[in-house]
Assembly symmetry: C2
């Protein structure tokens, strides 16, 4: 009748406490706030724990305390260089803190995102970092119910769930295209792949700039839903050039595409920038090393990750930022691939 659980065979806090000659709660305090103990007990608990090889049980801790030290992170892709920089920032900001990261991959799917948010809900994370600002209504409800600090990253917009760190993709693209216009390029193509919400906004920025200059022509736009790659850049460029032979510049939604264009130009002996200017997006490391060096829009990905985690950790400690939305901006890195063109 009585319960006969197979004994865990695991060292518990109680046993450490017994060996140290203190109560369990004192031993518990030792692991969370050693300063709170008298020097004598502190040492006794410490040596008892070491002697028994005690390993605290995080699940028990989470259940008893009703909180965890896990920060959930939702990103849409792991293939993307862009997110590896964000992640680096995230993990760097974490360094030395007591938090750990639970990273999940939404695969650019809002339904997947919704599922994963529900999973997090069951986990009571201490905080959450979510990519983008286009969550489904249900996702928003879940997030609002979660009662923990949440930072939306990569872009900014009105109506944050809680906090935001990012920049305006629209403005960044507008600025890149305006740069080409200012340098006398006129027939500027747009090359886009895997048109996620942020890439869509870059397209809007392109359109705005071209329309403002009275040079908008929908034939200059080519996109594909397929994931991005260097070779895809070459292909898009080749296709567009066939349709628009007088194209004199391209704005690429990312640097991989820009590199693919450069290679395609080399292959076809198209001189860059004399016959074709190239501007990329994100400013990955190779852009400056290319021949010619490629102009790009630097986005502060590492800082976004770092800031997001700092904001979450601060908010957990009750420190709210002055403004809930942080615009990290962007910088146009002008290089040889978009040298001024004679008018």
């Amino acid at each position: 009748m009585a319960r006969q659980r197979t004994t865990t065979g695991k060292v518990r806090l109680t046993e450490v406490a017994k060996l140290a000659g203190v109560s369990p709660i004192t031993a518990s305090r030792f692991f969370r706030n050693p300063e709170a103990l008298s020097a004598g007990k502190r040492e006794r608990v410490e040596s008892a724990a070491r002697e028994l090889g005690y390993v605290p049980d995080l699940a028990a801790r989470a259940l008893a305390s009703q909180r965890t030290e896990v920060i959930g992170v939702l990103i849409p892709s792991l293939t993307n260089n862009v997110f590896s920089d964000v992640l680096r920032g995230i993990y760097d900001a974490l360094q030395g803190s007591r938090y750990s990261i639970q990273l999940v991959n939404t695969r650019y799917s809002f339904l997947q995102e919704e599922k994963l948010l529900r999973l997090f809900q069951a986990q009571r994370p201490a905080g959450l970092v979510v990519t983008g600002i286009n969550q489904t209504p249900d996702s928003r409800l879940v997030m609002e119910a979660m009662n923990c600090p949440i930072v939306q990253i990569m872009e900014i917009g009105p109506d944050p769930v809680d906090m935001m760190v990012g920049f305006s993709h629209n403005k960044a693209a507008f600025s890149a295209v305006s740069h080409l216009l200012a340098r006398n390029y006129r027939r500027i193509g747009f090359l886009g792949a895997r048109m996620d919400p942020r890439v869509q906004r870059r397209l809007e920025g392109y359109r705005d700039a071209m329309k403002a200059a009275g040079l908008y022509d929908p034939r200059l736009i080519i996109t594909t839903p397929v994931p991005t790659s260097v070779s895809m850049g070459g292909m898009l460029f080749a296709d567009l050039l066939t349709l628009v032979p007088d194209m004199d510049a391209v704005f690429c939604v990312n640097d991989d595409i820009a590199l693919g264009v450069l290679f395609e130009c080399q292959r076809r002996q198209i001189s860059v920038p004399d016959d074709m200017a190239i501007v990329g997006f994100n400013d990955l490391e190779f852009m400056a090393a290319a021949v010619p060096p490629l102009t790009s829009v630097r986005t502060n990905r590492y800082e976004m990750g770092r800031n997001a985690i700092s904001m979450v950790m601060a908010a957990i400690d009750g420190e709210r930022p002055e403004a809930p939305v942080i615009d990290l901006g962007f910088q146009l890195m002008v290089r040889g691939s978009s040298s001024p063109r004679p008018a």
Copy 2:
């Protein structure tokens, strides 16, 4: 005197059970194995849970059941393209399973790795994926004490902690260098950055091949502990070429370095492969798109990630692979950058 915990305000399993008119354990079974309930109770529990907005508490579950559905993954870097492919494989293999990933970053530090392993120990993960085979003795002790399936990935060797999926970096490098030798290149440089254990083994493979051909010359080797990058590739190449002006080929420990070499050759009007052959390592996507296309060693990174998780999940279910060590091999992707050279 009695405990007055601030009520959680949270819907518990008990309440769902009460509303459904069943015992808590029946409700519990519904969430873990709905088939085990009679159709009537199943529906009543389901609607009760929905009505109350029940969210299970994973910590309570973990404590009561003494297990979690988290697989821990330790990787040394997030900046590295190589690991983003491994991660993609990992997350793809996970899709649809009940497991989630806890990803941690060792930063190529064995001490950090040891710390993180201890942290995992407190978490009772269902399984573990660890990068490389060079853990510290203490790390090995922790892993052996963890009593869960463990897969070491990226390389293979004797004496696995539990299971392994990878390939021989030594053989892969040997094969790449042998290819250059077979095509009549003689003064083959070695360019290496961030010399982690696997890169060290590639250096050994290079040495073995050059020695076997009677062409080994330590002056042909240049390395740096600094992290890898495209521009670093250009710099290493430039430095080595100054020291060894008659160099006719380079074996680069990764593709970023190879791309940097290509750009540097373009900059200096060194013809590839006529004046300089280039071979990279990993076969990132851009290698085939470059001009000329760059020869590289394809490593099955995605498959390593996928296999690792499949092996862990199978082992959790008691299914052990026939062999504990899986060699995924490599393929030499021969392209224009290493065309045969007239003898």
